[in-house]
Assembly symmetry: C2
Homo-oligomer: 372 residues x 2
């Protein structure tokens, strides 16, 4: 056989693959309908694990890489989660209810508003221009969800004083939790639920996304809200507000600050970016993309996360000192000090270091697949 002939054979296989995907899609749509009728959650970890384990085994028997088959199926399942959502969701609250989203025209407000609407709730948006009608809009609300910028949250909550129905769940979506939860507790005597969705408004699917929550008062009264998130496929993590805010300094504020400074550094030094990219293998391109990504988004959000984080100043000072220290090692050619510090960090990461190496290699390989 010549090359062209074999290639035609490969194209034929790929076309049958497309036909199979279409067939699978139709079946997933049926799953979606049945799940909605029976009120079952989108994401069922046990089913996913069983499916993957079964196919991995069969892949091996067929002389294929089990990782290849798992990678493909996971990518296909992402599409399924998206498709399942389109069919709408079961309401976790019987008879559904009224959800008022304060700041509902923003990115996160729209995302949650759409999901509540898809789940049979009456969704009402309260934006700046609606404040004269606020009392009327908030009447009979079962959930009042505040989705405004961090630095406006406490002020907006102040304006809500006396307007939130006594039985309603008062909740917020702010990236910090100590101050907003305290403010909610102060202005509302009913159930209070602090929320921090660990994803941005560009996220199309809530399946498998993490939502941190502080059930600050009457947790039983707000359980339907959390159950609703679970129906959407989200994974819930309870946390104390102060613990949450301390963790976020690591997870968000310090990372964002370091990335911000690196971007400023690049723009000041101004290397030829296209030339840099020409020599960047996937891992370096990805690191650069993670920097560029920040500056393609809103300075407001990142600024608020950095500026409002308690403890950021102390941590940033510590980082600065450590950088100064490392620089002095480089200036003095003190490789021994570098190696010792390196070894200490390796020990601190422990087993997770190897796991992180595997995970990131995996991600880099994925990025490499798409190099042209």
């Amino acid at each position: 056989m010549d090359l062209e002939e074999i290639r035609r054979g490969i194209d034929g296989v790929d076309r049958r693959l497309i036909a199979l995907l279409a067939e699978r899609k139709a079946l997933v749509e049926q799953v979606s309908t049945v799940k909605k009728e029976q009120g079952q959650p989108i994401y069922v970890p046990e089913r996913e694990a069983a499916l993957l384990a079964g196919r991995r085994l069969e892949a091996q028997e067929a002389g294929l890489s089990p990782d290849l088959v798992e990678d493909l199926l996971r990518r296909i399942m992402r599409e399924s989660y998206r498709a399942e959502g389109r069919g709408g969701f079961r309401s976790a609250r019987s008879g559904a209810g009224k959800v008022v989203i304060v700041g509902g025209a923003g990115g996160m407000g729209r995302l949650f508003g759409q999901a509540f609407a898809d789940s049979g709730y009456q969704v009402v948006v309260l934006e700046r221009q609606d404040w004269p009608q606020a009392r009327q809009l908030l009447q009979d609300a079962h959930l009042v969800l505040v989705s405004v910028p961090i630095d406006a949250t406490v002020q907006v909550l102040g304006e809500l004083r006396g307007l939130v129905p006594a039985e309603a769940v008062l909740a917020d979506l702010t990236s910090l939790k100590r101050e907003p939860v305290a403010a909610m507790m102060e202005i509302h005597q009913g159930p209070v639920l602090g929320l921090h969705p660990m994803f941005g408004p560009t996220t199309g699917v809530m399946a498998k996304q993490v939502i941190a929550y502080c059930a600050a008062r009457f947790p039983a009264e707000s359980s339907w809200v959390r159950e609703q998130f679970q129906v959407w496929g989200a994974r819930l993590r309870p946390v104390e507000p102060t613990v949450h805010d301390e963790l976020m300094v690591f997870i968000q504020a310090m990372r964002h600050l370091a990335t911000f400074v690196y971007g400023v550094h690049l723009a000041d030094e101004a290397p030829d970016l296209r030339e840099v990219l020409a020599f960047s293998s996937p891992i370096y391109r990805m690191e650069l993309a993670m920097v560029g990504r920040l500056f393609a988004q809103s300075p407001g959000l990142y600024g608020e996360i950095i500026f409002s984080s308690p403890g950021i100043v102390r941590q940033a000072r510590g980082y600065l000192q450590r950088f100064q220290q490392a620089l002095s090692w480089v200036e003095q050619g003190d490789k021994a000090a570098f190696h010792q510090a390196f070894a200490e960090v390796t020990a601190w990461f422990g087993e997770l270091g190897q796991q992180f190496l595997r995970e990131s290699t995996f991600t880099i390989e994925k990025a490499h697949d798409h190099v042209v």
Copy 2:
């Protein structure tokens, strides 16, 4: 139909998918054989582009997401590149030849040694203990490839003086190019080729990987080496040694230094890593993994890249000042200054910012597929 029944249908589709993959694999093996016979390169960008364009179109016609089909095919093709390599490669040098790898027992030495051996060359390894037989081992070599740590390169080249056959190509794999290329030019009067493969020894496949090169003397005499890399699927980038080293301060040294300091910072502050992970959505987990990854590897390699980079001290001082500046904005609550600097960096990234946002979102979605 009940849920169980539909799920059995999905499992059936997935099994047929596995059978199709096995069929495709057999065809790729035929391609591999034909390509080897005809001496064609593994990676043919035009064929790949045409295949993907065709299937994207058909995906759309079938009511599927073209991105889904492209993602799946790219993942499948990665496996194909790997499989094609196993069949061996055409020799770019007629009658093949003798390749001596100095430091051939190290990670990169082994990777290149294996690839040359798979391409019909006689591969000889020259390690520390072999120096007494060096003259004999190097006799009649067509390529002498130095693959030793950065800080040993110049010294090893000194020891090779007078031992490299006059006609042989002398090449190195060091991450910096100015000093090693100058040293090669000095000890050898024949063809000199500085190389910097932009990937590590864990890379199983050279297809689509970038190799930077400096054809410092008699480029025509070393063209067969570059052609051999192309047969393996690598993408070659010519560069001047000094330009290369300046770019690498950005691409490697400063990134590694900033990541190193971030790791030291984490280990000193010592948050509960498992708790941090529990609240980390895929993007934050990936950022953390990129830090942990460094410390799961050799301090020697990273140390050498950082300590040996010309200009690292000047750049690190600049970064430090910029961090100090940003910290003072946070201390003083000067959000306006933060926003202005942010806007300047956004402008500097230009169109690439949006591209980086798309690329990284894509990568994050892939990581999210694998969340359990």
